[in-house]
Every structure is written in C-alpha cells, then in structure tokens.
Amino acid sequence: MVSATAFLLDLAHKRSRHFNTMKILIIEDDAAASTYLDKAFREQGHVVDVASDGLDGYALASEGQYDAIIVDRMIPRMDGLSLIHGLREQKIDTPILILSALGQVDDRVKGLRAGADDYLPKPYSFSELLARVEILSRRGRSVPAEDTVYRVSDLELNRLTRRVIRSDVEIDLQPREFRLLEYLMRHAGQVVTRTMLLENVWDYHFDPQTNVIDVHVSRLRAKIDKGFDNPLIQTVRGAGYTVRDSAR
C-alpha cells in the first residue's frame, strides 16, 4: 500500500517544483559563510536549514526531507566525507554538493567517491552554486533524463537516433555539439554554467584561460536558432546559459 504520507510528500514535491522552491540543508561551521548562503538562497525563494557542525547536520539530513544538501568538507564533529558516507550507508540519497577549500583533482575524486554528487571548490560564485544545486535537486525526479526524446518548443532531440529536428528541419550537428545540446536540453529551463558544460560535456574540471565554451555555444546557437524568431539558447548574464522556450 502506498501510504498517504508518501503520496502527500510526492505532491508536496511536485508543488514545490511547480513553485521552483527547494528545501536546502547547509552544513557549514563558518557563520559568515552560512549566513551568506542562507540569505542568498532565501532571496531566490528557497527554504534553508543551517547546521553548524557534522553531527547536527547528520541528524537533520537523516530525516531525508531535503532537496539538496550543501556540506563543507572540513567541519567540526564528524567531517564532511564521513557524514556523506554515513548518509549513503543509511540509504539516504538526497543530492549532496561538497564545498571545499581543497580544490585539486584528487580532492574532487575523494569527494565523489565518498558519495557526493557534485564538488565545488571555494571560493565559488553564488550563481555557480545556485545553478548546480538547482540541477542536483531535480536530478532523478521529474526531468526525463531517461527519455529518448527531449523537446523544447519546436526543437526535438532524439538520443537514440542522434537526430536533431527543429520545425521539421533536420539539423546536422557534430558529435560534441550534439552532446552540448543534449546536456542543455536535459536541463531545459535551468541555468547551466560554463564550468558545468566543461565538466559534463568535455569531462574537464580545470578552468580554461579563455572562454572556449562561449565559442562552442555560439556555434551551436548559429545552427539551432539562426533563422528562427524565438531563440532557444539564451545567455544568462553572469551565470551561463539556458535552453528555454522564450515565446512562452
């Protein structure tokens, strides 16, 4: 029997998604940093809980009522990695993002191995963190990541046949352009940063000195949006890109 609570919870989730509201747990011992995050997320209309050490954070996270958890790696009373490990052992699969001053390649590897879903080195820009948390929080819920066909307005991308059609006209894309568009469309309506594109489409985590991603996106844009009145690939100033039906 599917319990009423579960049903209501699911409904609540759908509602919150509808209003684009997330419930976020921030586990961070630096009061200034957690206040800053708390305020910034609330300004975006999200609900925030703050824990100032590992044990409190673990207790709150164990209730499993969050859309995303942001955890600092170095916190008193149970460090970040052990906390994540513990939650995953408990089968709590709330998306977790690690914030850490340790930003080297192997630090990231350790973090992800412990069960985190994303890793953001400090210092970070809030728009980067927000974009990542928004995408994490929807991961595996309603976004049809497993769908064969992604659709935004009159643009259609078929992941099996690897064909892209806009207004019944097939668009010829290079393999990398296809992956770029695929990633943007999977997260349609959400902001995707340049770093996220570099990570997910090229699998690189370093910061190129030049914004090579912009050139790739403008190439893709030329193929997708040229000759159409409503551009689907939009630049979000100071953050990144989003694929959205601007006509609606």
């Binding site: 390649v105 192997d106 590897v109 350790k110 699998d203 690189y204 370093f206 190129p208 000195q209 050139v215």
Partner: protein, 463 residues
C-alpha cells in the same frame, strides 16, 4: 658542561675506555701467568737441588758412616751462601749443622716441607722461609737439608712489581691515547656543530670542512653539504617565488582596491556601482585563478602522486583538447591542426595533461594572432609522436617565439617576458605545464620553431 665532562661523554673516549679495560684484563692475565710459572720453575729448581744434595750426603753416609757425614756437613756448613744443614741423633740432639735452633719439638719429621726459621742479619733476627727435606738414616739419625726461599721470594716480588708497573703504564698510555683520539674527533665534531649552528642561525652559505681523508666524518660532511646545497636552492627558489607572488598578487589586488575606492568616491549612479562591483569580481576571479595555479604547481613539485592516474591515450587527450579549442582558434583566424593518429599509452591524469595542453594551445593561439605577416599562414600544430620509450606531445606556433636565452627563465613561476608584461595572464602557464610534466615523470622543453615556439612535453609511455 666542563671540557673534561664533554670529553668523557664522547663516543671515541668511551670506546677507548672499553678497549683499555679489555686490554688490561688480558695483559694482567698474561703477566700473572708468567709470574706464576716463574715461581714454580724456581721452586722446582730448589727442590731438585735439595734432592741432589741429599743423594750425595746419603752416599757419604753409606760409605763412611755417621762420622763422615758429620764431617761433610761441618765443612759444607761453613761455606758462604750455603744450604741449611742439620744432623741429629734419634733423640734430637744436634750433631752438626748451621741451624742453631729448629723450631721443632723433639724429632724432625721425614719429608719435604716449608720451614720457618730466623737468620741474624745485621744484628737482628729476621724470619726466613726455607724449603727443607728430612730423611731418617739407619740408626735413627736424622738429616735435614734445605734452601732458603728468600731469593725466590724476592724474585717473585720483582716479577709482580714489574707486572704491576706494566699494567699501570699500559693504563696511562691508553688513557692518554683515548683522550687524544677523542679530542681529535671531538674537535672535528665540535667544528661541525658550530658550522651547523651558524647555518641554523640563518647563514645558509656556510659549509662543513671536508679534510680530504674520505673517512666517515668526511663522508658525513659531504652529505650534509649536499643537503645544504639543496636547501639553499629551495630557499632561493622560495624567496624568488615569494617576491614574485608579492608582485603579481599585489598588482591585481591594488587594481581591485583602486577601482573599488574610485567607485566609492565618484560613483553617483547604481550603474556605476554595479560596474565597479562586476569589475571587482572579475579581478577576484583572476586572483583565484593565480592561487589555484600556484597550489597546483606546489603540489606537483612536492611530487604527490595523484589519485586517479591511469592508462590514457596521449593522442586522444590531444585530439580532445584540439576539439575544445578549435572553434576558438577559428574565430581568432588561426588554423589549429592536430597530428595524433597513433595511440600511445601513458600513465597519466587526463585532466592534468589536458590542462597542460590547453595552456600551451591557449598561449599558441594568442601569440599567433600577434603576427601579421602575409607570407606566414597563422597556424598552431598539435602533435603526438612516439620517441623510443616516450610520448612527445608538442604544440608549435609561428608566433613571436621566445629568445633562446630566455627559454629556461620562462619556465620559472611568474616569469613573463617583459615585452608581454602588460598582457593578461598569470605568468604561471608554462611553469604549470612543466610541473605537470614533471609529475608524470617527464619534462617540458621549449624550442625555436623558425619562426615561433615549439613546446614539447615528454612523458614515459607504457606498453
């Protein structure tokens, strides 16, 4: 601690003392054995003499009876330095001899034994010891013949005294030797300690004295000197880096501070503030990039082996990087060519090698745009070739290049050639590439591309 105290504490001195102790015990044992043997030999000789004399006297007695014996004894008794003689009747009455009183009640016993008696020397009776043999003759007569042991005793005393002096002499010599050796070693060690102290106090130019004997202290001094050289190099590097950090971080920090201050002073609209803030964030981001690059280099130079290194195809990494930069190059009007068809396995981090190549390609494209020569087609060639046991990943451009005299210098952290000082960039690009190459057991080489620059990363390949 006193000088003597310090001396006693040295290893050399302790060793000398132990050696001395062992040596003394052996010397004592040998001398003791000699003394004992000499004494036994002398006593045996005395025994033999007494025995022979008794045999002679017995034959006198046998041929001439007791009268002849008495006469013989009387004659012998008066010779100087003679043996001890005594002939008594069965009742103990003295017939002849040179012992006036034998400390015996009544009869002399037959056999060999030691006898105490007195000899009057310089008017004073002194106790003497003698070895005597007594036989009982037919008719109850008793004949005693003996020899004074005083001489033997004296000889023995001389030997013992000689042994004692020898041991004392040995002790004294060994002690002096030990002190001498210890002081010699101590003075060298003291010197070393003194030198290391001054070095610790901050004078890194000091070096330990190498005497040239190639003994263990020399070898120790050489190792320490080599270590000091290395430390000196590191210190010099560190000092240079910190100077450069001061310069290259202070410059953007100053710019950041100035623009914020200016906005505060003259800003009159929210747009002006907004622009200033955006500019501030940009500058801060640049600073973060510099920090990240520095950390990366520091880590690479510390030689930490990265997790996540695995077998990768160098050609594939190169193709990926070229693919990433191709649109950017095209937009800049540069032809980006990749020549990497042969798969070459390297044990590497794709991320780091990718970043290193990206740095080189980025540089190459930017510098290529500086050349406006119609005869040279601006192009950047990325190639991966096998060179024996190594994979050579190279990025070549036809930009302004780097003067040969500067090729080593540009690999250092923060060095940017003065001509390009104004261009954006941390100056860490090439040193980061070099650090990544070193981390993978290889190196970075810069060559003249006639014209332009060719950067070669060489990494050991795996089969």
């Amino acid at each position: 601690m006193t000088a003597l105290g310090r001396l006693f504490r040295t290893t050399a001195f302790k060793l000398a003392l132990i050696f001395l102790l062992i040596f003394t015990i052996f010397a004592g044992a040998i001398l003791g054995y000699v003394a004992f043997s000499a004494r036994r030999l002398l006593e045996e000789q005395v025994n033999l003499t007494v025995n022979e004399e008794i045999k002679g006297l017995l034959s006198q007695f046998n041929s001439g009876g007791v009268l002849r014996l008495v006469r013989q004894i009387e004659r012998r008794s008066h010779q100087p330095g003679s043996s001890l003689y005594l002939v008594t009747t069965a009742a103990g009455e003295t017939l002849a001899g040179n012992i006036s009183s034998v400390d015996s009640e009544g009869l002399l016993e037959a056999g060999t034994y030691e006898l105490s008696y007195r000899v009057v020397e310089e008017g004073e009776p002194r106790p003497h010891r003698a070895l005597v043999e007594t036989v009982i003759l037919p008719g109850g007569f008793r004949l005693l013949v003996g020899r004074d042991l005083d001489e033997t005793d004296r000889f023995h005393t001389i030997i013992l005294r000689a042994a004692g002096w020898s041991i004392l002499l040995i002790l004294a010599l060994a002690l002096v030797g030990g002190v001498f050796v210890a002081r010699r070693v101590l003075s060298r060690v003291d010197h070393m300690t003194e030198t290391t102290r001054t070095i610790m106090a901050g004078d890194l130019s000091g070096r330990l004295v190498v005497t040239g004997t190639n003994d263990e202290l020399d070898r120790l001094a050489q190792s320490l000197n080599a270590m000091l050289d290395r430390i000196g190099e590191l210190m010099a590097g560190l000092r240079e880096v910190s100077d450069n950090i001061a310069h290259d971080l202070k410059t953007p920090l100053t710019r950041l501070r100035n623009s914020a201050e200016e906005a505060l002073r003259v800003g009159d609209s929210s747009d002006a503030y907004r622009n200033a803030l955006e500019h501030t964030i940009e500058e801060a981001d640049d600073l973060i990039k510099i920090f990240n690059a520095l950390l990366m280099i520091a880590r690479a130079e510390a030689g930490n082996v990265l997790e996540g290194m695995k077998s990768e195809d160098a050609s594939e990494i190169a193709r990926d990087v070229v693919e990433l930069y191709e649109p950017f190059a095209e937009e800049a009007g540069i032809k980006l060519v990749v020549q990497a068809d042969e798969p070459i396995s390297i044990h590497a981090s794709r991320e780091l090698i990718g970043q290193a190549l990206a740095n080189l390609v980025d540089n190459a494209i930017k510098y290529s745009t500086e050349v406006h020569d119609q005869n040279v087609e601006p192009s950047v060639i990325v190639s991966v070739v096998r060179d024996g046991e190594r994979a050579i990943l190279s990025v070549a451009d036809h930009g302004p290049g780097i003067p040969e005299t500067d090729t080593d210098r540009v690999l250092e952290r923060f060095v940017r050639l003065e001509t390009s000082r104004t261009r954006a960039g941390s100056g860490l690009g090439l040193s980061l590439v070099a650090a990544v190459a070193r981390l993978h057991g290889g190196g970075l080489k810069l060559e003249d591309n006639h014209p332009g620059l060719k950067a070669l990363i060489s990494i050991p390949s795996v089969s």
